[in-house]
Amino acid sequence: MKMYQLGVLSFFCFIALSQSERLHEQIYSSIEGGAACFRRLNGTHQAGCSSTDKGAVGPVLMIKEINDALWLTQNGTAGPYIAVVSTALFHDIIEEFMNNPTNVAGILVYEDAYQITSAFTHDSKCPNEYSSGPGSTCSSSEPEGFVWNEKGTDLMRRDIPFPMFFLPESRIEEIKKIEECYQRYNLDRNAHSGKPLCSVQLHSFMFAAVDTVVCLRRSASSAILTPTKVCDPLGDQNVYYPLFSRAKENKEAKRPVILVTARIDTASLFDGISPGAASSVVGMVTLLNTAEVLRSMIPMSKTYGTNVIFTLLNGEAFDYIGSQKVAYDISRGAWPPIMPLSPTDIPLHIELGQIGGALLSHRDEESWPLYAFTPNLSNNVDKVSEFVNALSSDLKQYNMSLVMTATDNIPPSSLHSFRRILKNVTESGSLTEILIADHNAQFTNMFYNSALDDYTKIGFDYHNITVGSDGIFLQNDEILAKGIMNATEIQVKISRLATSLARTLYKKITDEEYTGANQASAHLVDEMMYCFLRSQMCRLLLAADYGNSGGTENLPQKPTPLYVGVSAYSLTAPVFAGHMLALFTGMHFPELNRTTCDRIDKSEFSYLYLKGWNNTGVCIQTTMNFSQAISPAFVERDYDYASGFYSTWTESVWQTMWARVFVAASGNGALAAFIAGAVATAIAAFLTFWIQRNAQRIFINAPTGSLVSTDATTGILRTVNC
């Protein structure tokens, strides 16, 4: 006893720090904040990644250079491996992995600030190639063909045989964790076999498979009592805003409408990370500002011969879901719901395409080279050039250029949908189409539709200028004069583009030059960009939030994902955009309270009750409205999904996505245990058997069982009963 106490005392020192933590936490360490690549399906194929339902397990291999990748695929011994690779290296090694995936269990891509990623885009070389209109020559298949998105790996359209996870810059410490473990166990890569190895498990099991047809069929048919859903069609909401309310017009004498469109959505290979700064946000913000300025320029009292409908299209990244729906509805005379347009009502369609790719490269000068693409049609070239010239001349004062190219090979944009679905009007030239982009032959944006296409890629930095409770923003002149921003900053450029476009539109509508002083405000652009690129916790969204929704705490600190999502659930992006439109262009009635505001029912307007600038709530009368953005393929009766005319993208259902790192046993322990166990059991069995068999002879002087005395039975009763 005594000596034991000493022993214990001596032990106390190092036992002191022992926590009672579950073994499990000692073994595994989960990798937080990873975004998994998931599976999408179209009419004929499945695209994206899926792990097995148990998750993909493999020893870690840090890919530091291309040779590591080659070693992995060619003579890795302990494979299949989980490759951990930085975005900088990703493009160089992915093809190797795709071509011989047998030794690849999965890929963990991480963003590393210290390595410059030159390009990172997983859309096709020719985005939406198979939905492009007549005359587009872009072809990702033929090697030397002309392509828009030259760096495109097309991963979003290919079936990836292994799971992939993406760790953003903010999660670099997880990589450090893995690296450390890797250094301890896996460093000597040629001695991997028969040793414990640092391993990673990636779990992203996708329910759907094969293609949209199959997965929809399986979603429909389900075992009795427990339905199962394996995939949903992509889709969300389009936002449209007629400058003048069209409800009052009568069927025969409809005012012609200029359609100004931009895309809301972008995409990325990984779930929940789709910033899309250059891909879509700049265009969207430009459109919003144009609408705002135009609204402020045009006196609502007068009526003009022409109307403008600003439209934000959703799902454009996946074969133009939004624009296909709009065009399809127009062709059926079903869009917009109030006073539907007929194709002939639209003389002009201006798309603010992918602008922003060139911003970073021109961050030091005021200039911003823009390009106007228009289908190569003889009969309306003057109409186009008139508009383009007007716009470019207006842009000139800001040292921005607009070069017009008339070609049938138009960059990816909603124009393609119109040119396919509204063929007759587009080809006859009654519908003139103009696409404004800031790239000419090829994308200037090396991160098109990718997780890295964030605010840094357009050189946006937030100025955080306070906004008064009246919602008045500083005018550009003031901003520049005070030197709050300088003319080379993108906010200014965008605002200027918006202003010019607005002026041009003003001219189209009123047939006279705009003489007023209204301009788009770089300040407003600043705020808007911040909302869409940095954090939803921003002034505009607080003001544009529903009046009845709770305080500010319900808005997360990260930007809202711009991925279109599945049609079943509406995402926040279009709602935000629409509310902003309403907030800036609608009529404010601060005096009305919520109930009355909700009760108002006028056919030509819709009424929103938003928080307003001073968060007291304001009733807004607006013509802005939402329309469904889902591919006609899912609307039309018995549409042939394989025909490939409409977008048929669906997204697989999944349950959980997680990744964890741990050390995998080499099996030596198991072997040892087995041998020892077998021996021990055998010995024990034999001894027991033997001793029991001749117990009589072995235990010669056994302590004989005491009592069985005569009063045994009563004894029993006593013992038992007590």
């Binding site: 036992i15 022992s18 926590q19 009672s20 933590e21 579950r22 073994l23 000692q26 339902d53 075992a223 009592l225 427990t226 069985v708 005395s709 005569t710 045994a712 039975t713 009563t714 029993i716 009763l717 038992v720 009963n721």
Partner: protein
């Protein structure tokens, strides 16, 4: 167990002991009495004589014949005590095996198919779903739920008694059959589906339908009529397990625990209080001098008597097998209706418990739920009754000699209602659903010990005893203790590899 029964068994040993010695079997009671006496004298000094006897016992054959009143006076009494205990030991083990099996099935399912541990749907008669974050509200919800359950149970029990007093067996039996049908087919179907889903195995309707059809029909035959004993036991255990799983899945978290506690208390009351409904049931049955409700007695008897006595040797050749032939002595043939009638219940009692609960578990109109479930409980209750009833009977040593053999027979062996199975399994399964095996283990051992004690008391008090209270109490105590106190310690030890 009882004097009478034990004296039966006593004979049985003698009987077999003799058979070992290859001596004719049938002999007048006189001899037996003497033999008993003789044996008592000799026993003490020589283990061997005992040995042979016991040896015989260990492979006891032959159905006990109607016994004589204890002839050997006080001496015999003592004798009886031992033998009784001897049987006690055997039977305790005989009960451990199926109980353990049932628990294993449940635990294995819980830990491999997570369908049964996720809470989404609840039974319609547990209106409070314990969604609130506050412990207080949860507790209150749980209590409310369990009280609702309890009242439903009580109600149904009363209803049962009324039915029974009115002697409308037809209703009860028909209803048992129907419920059994639904249970066997519907809920095993659910089980299969979830199992396949869990392992992501494709399967076609043809195989499914064919399999279900075979499984279900065989089940009906074996449970309601005649079939190999082992198969029958397998079916019983499986269904008890399914039932337990249903409870685990469809009862809210805390409600499950509350229900366990409440049920065992109710059990106590219903069986022990002089005016307890179950006791009333038993007594009416006695007045009518008929086996209470074949559905009640037999369910367990079928399982356990036989479970307890290995393939009985052909004592009394041609004498119809005790269990199912008793009620219909003269003309016994599978085909004729009355027989069926009397017989069918035998299996049921066990089953309908499941069925009911199954029924309610399965998404159906709320009220339907309520009903179904209620029944479930009644049955569970009834099961428990029969579990204890035999002992209750057997206390009546002065039972008339010409007492129809069936009673004798069914009194033999320790009986445990399937209701007990279910609730034991619910407890252990629930414990295992949190993924801590220590807890599961503790609950398991606690329940077994509780069972031992109950049986010991049964042997000592010779009085109908509820089988749940002791076991469940132990189980609950050890569950919570292990979860809150022991687990951290055990984990610390395990993680540090400190062995105590």
């Amino acid at each position: 167990m009882s004097n009478s029964s034990s004296s039966d068994t006593e004979e049985a040993n003698e009987n077999t002991a003799l058979m070992d010695g290859h001596i004719a079997e049938a002999r007048p009671d006189r001899e037996i009495a003497e033999r008993i006496a003789r044996k008592r004298k000799t026993k003490s000094d020589s283990q061997r004589s005992y040995g042979t006897v016991d040896h015989g016992v260990s492979s006891i054959h032959g159905p006990p014949q109607p016994s004589s009143a204890p002839v050997a006076g006080p001496s015999a009494d003592a004798q009886i005590e031992e033998l009784e205990l001897k049987y006690g030991a055997r039977h305790v083990i005989k009960l451990f095996v199926p109980v353990t099996l049932c628990m294993i099935v449940v635990v294995a399912t819980i830990s491999s198919i997570n369908f049964y541990s996720v809470k989404d749907v609840y039974l319609a008669y547990t209106p409070f779903h314990e969604e609130s974050p506050y412990a207080v509200t949860k507790v209150w919800n749980a209590l409310a739920n369990s009280m609702i359950l309890l009242s439903v149970i009580a109600l149904m029990t009363v209803l049962l008694i009324v039915l029974y007093k009115k002697r409308c067996y037809k209703i009860i039996h028909g209803w048992l059959i129907l419920s059994s049908l639904m249970l066997l087919f519907l809920f095993s179907y659910l089980y299969i589906e979830e199992a396949l889903r869990a392992y992501n195995i494709p399967m076609d309707y043809i195989t499914l339908v064919f399999g279900m059809w075979n499984f279900g029909v065989m089940g009906m035959i074996v449970i309601h009529w005649k079939g190999p004993l082992r198969l029958q036991q397998a079916y019983l255990i499986f269904i008890a397990a399914l039932m337990a799983l249903v409870f685990i899945k469809y009862l809210p978290e805390w409600t499950t625990w509350a229900v366990l506690a409440v049920i065992s208390i109710w059990d106590l009351v219903a069986v022990l209080t002089p005016k307890g409904p179950l006791r009333i049931l038993v007594e009416t049955a006695q007045e009518r001098n008929e086996p209470i409700f074949p559905a009640l007695i037999y369910s367990s008897t079928v399982m356990y008597c036989l479970a307890a006595t290995p393939p009985a040797g052909a004592a009394g050749e041609g004498e119809p097998p005790a269990r199912e032939l008793r009620p219909l002595v003269p003309d016994e043939s599978g085909e004729n209706a009355p027989v069926e009638n009397r017989r069918s219940p035998s299996g049921d009692a066990g089953f309908d418990a499941e069925w009911r609960a199954r029924a309610d578990a399965h998404p159906a109109p709320p009220d339907a739920h309520a009903h179904a479930h209620a029944h479930a409980h009644v049955h569970v209750q009834r099961l428990r009754v029969d579990g204890t009833a035999p002992a209750h009977y057997t206390t009546r040593v002065e039972r008339p000699q010409q007492q129809p053999a069936p009673d004798m027979d069914e009194e033999k062996g320790v009986k445990l209602g399937l209701g007990d199975f279910i609730f034991y399994s619910v407890l252990v399964g629930k414990a295992s659903s949190y993924g801590d095996w220590n807890t599961t283990l503790a609950c398991f051992v606690a329940i077994l010990i509780g069972l031992c004690l109950t049986l010991l008391l049964l042997a000592i008090l010779k009085k109908a005893l509820p089988a749940l209270p002791i076991s469940i109490t132990f189980g609950l105590i050890f569950y919570f203790a292990t979860r809150c106190v022991v687990k951290p310690f055990a984990d610390a030890l395990a993680a540090e590899q400190v062995f105590i």
